[in-house]
Amino acid sequence: MTESAAMPSQSISPESAQRKVRISVLRYNPQERGSVPRMQTYELEEADGMTLFIALNEIREKQDASLQFDFVCRAGICGSCAMVINGRPGLACRTLTRSLGSEITLAPLPVFELIADLSVNTGKWMRAMSERLQAWVHMKQIEVDISRLEERMEPELAQKIYELDRCIECGCCVAGCGTARMREDFVGAVGLNKIARFRLDPRDARTDADFYELVGDDSGVFGCMSLLACHDVCPKALPLATQIAFVRRKMAGAGWK
């Protein structure tokens, strides 16, 4: 599961004939005076196993040093290279150019604050969301006794929690979400997934009533219209549809009373 999620999900077509790809980038730098949003097209020779991340770097090195985009890990772990690729959010470092047509359109993720060109400030959004949802384990004891053994956790449960913890906060689910596009205050699938994760954790002392305080409204789980784009675009293939439905059932139960 984790293994497959770490591999590029696109299949590589066998023909290795070189082709030219045209990459059109939506460019705009709000910091720069006189900058207006515009499309700029770059043409380059496709290399074997070329990802968008490699292509963008090549453009920056050889054609246009002013092009801005983010990356850190180039392996689908840091979540910084998310962008809108031919209309859908995805990770540039996980997308092979071969899996796309020869005309590729790139745009920055919507919803998040634009830094410049393809670079957006997902961190700011994620931090605000985490603070709002108090996305950390709320321990039962305040005194931590480091000489004592940690409470045991069943491996199956640990695995389940780990599965949800694989989220890299790339923001694809938020950018792909029709609700998030319409309502600024929506916590997104990434937030609801966190609630599901901490709810699973036996060390977290919060009850459903506590979680209801965090996501029991239309900016939380009840705002979700089950469009499931989040599930379909999540580059880590997290079971978002299942988790959101789960949180919805629990929160409906907590709120009904």
């Binding site: 809108v84 209309g87 859908r88 919507p110 108090q134 709320h138 321990m139 039962k140 004891q141 305040i142 792909g176 029709g178 596009r181 319409m182 309502r183 002392a205 919060r206 009850t207 009533a209 506590d210 209801y212 305080e213 029991g216 409204d217 239309d218 939380g220 009840f222 979700c224 219209m225 089950s226 469009l227 499931l228 784009a229 599930h231 379909d232 079971p239 549809a241 299942t242 439905a245 789960f246 919805r248 059932r249 929160m251 409906a252 907590a254 709120g255 009904w256 009373k257």
Partner: protein, 268 residues
């Protein structure tokens, strides 16, 4: 920092300001009212399409709902009561669904732009859900109002006259399309929203659900159009005797057909 507090921030929030429970209740109510309406529409289609089995079959279904077989005579007001309940449900469902509508043009256009950009089926389906829901509120109102005020005008000839001679067929064509799309998408959405039919392979389950959704919509559209065609045919044939009620052969005491508004069994 406060000391001696056994739990850290967040826990025990419930002791402080309590969040309203209404979002949860409204969300459940929206789903429940939608589910009841969708199931009602299936039943409704089954009864209405009885015309395909013949006029007597449809007459029997109609009389059954008017209590004819219980009380020995027809009480169309029973139908009115059911219609009133359906109207109440439709209004409730519409009001609840309005919460999810784009509230201004900006939201509407950003959703539209998003939909065009994503080309994602479930996202696009939601847009159709909104459009058909909006249309339904007006189309269904017309139909429901007639059913509420003239429950006695349901029957093989009566309905056919409404469809053809009263020119309801254009409305019914659009209404049928809107209902079947809206109901099918809605049921599918309910299943994924609440995680019914959960399975280890969520992707495959969703594919199957979507297949079932389209199959149901297709089935009810075919049935619906066949039914509508049957009423149109009867309506055309019956147009020169517009208003005349249907009396099944076994109840006809005289060869003269019952005049409009007359008792069903003994034409005056």
């Amino acid at each position: 920092m406060e000391h001696g507090v056994p739990l850290i921030v967040g826990v025990g929030l419930t002791d402080h300001a309590r969040k309203s429970h209404w979002p949860a209740r409204l969300d459940l109510a929206q789903s429940a009212s939608g589910l009841v309406l969708a199931l009602f529409m299936w039943g409704h289609m089954a009864f209405v399409s009885s015309i395909l089995l013949g006029k007597d079959a449809m007459w029997t279904v109609t009389k059954f709902f008017e209590g004819y077989f219980f009380f020995g005579r027809s009480h169309p007001w029973i139908v009115s009561i059911v219609v009133a309940m359906v109207i109440a449900l439709v209004v409730t469902h519409a009001l609840l669904a309005l919460r999810k509508f784009p509230i201004n043009y900006l939201q509407f256009s950003s959703f539209r732009g998003h939909m065009r950009m994503m080309r994602h089926e479930d996202t696009t389906l939601w847009y159709w859900q909104v459009l058909t829901g909006f249309a339904l509120f007006f189309l269904a109102s017309v139909h429901l109002y007639i059913m509420l005020t003239r429950p006695d005008r349901i029957g093989p000839f009566e309905s056919a006259d409404r469809v053809w001679s009263d020119h309801f067929w254009p409305l019914y064509i659009v209404l049928l399309l809107a209902v079947e799309l809206h109901g099918g998408i809605g049921l599918y959405r309910l299943a994924v929203k609440w995680g019914w039919f959960g399975s280890a392979d969520a992707k495959a389950m969703r594919r199957r659900l979507k297949l079932a959704k389209w199959a149901l919509t297709a089935f009810f559209l075919v049935l619906g159009f066949a039914t509508l065609a049957a009423y149109i045919r009867i309506g055309v044939e019956h147009s020169d005797r517009y208003g005349e009620r249907y009396v099944p052969a076994q109840l006809q005491t005289s060869p003269v057909p019952a005049p409009a508004g007359g008792d069903l069994r003994s034409p005056r």
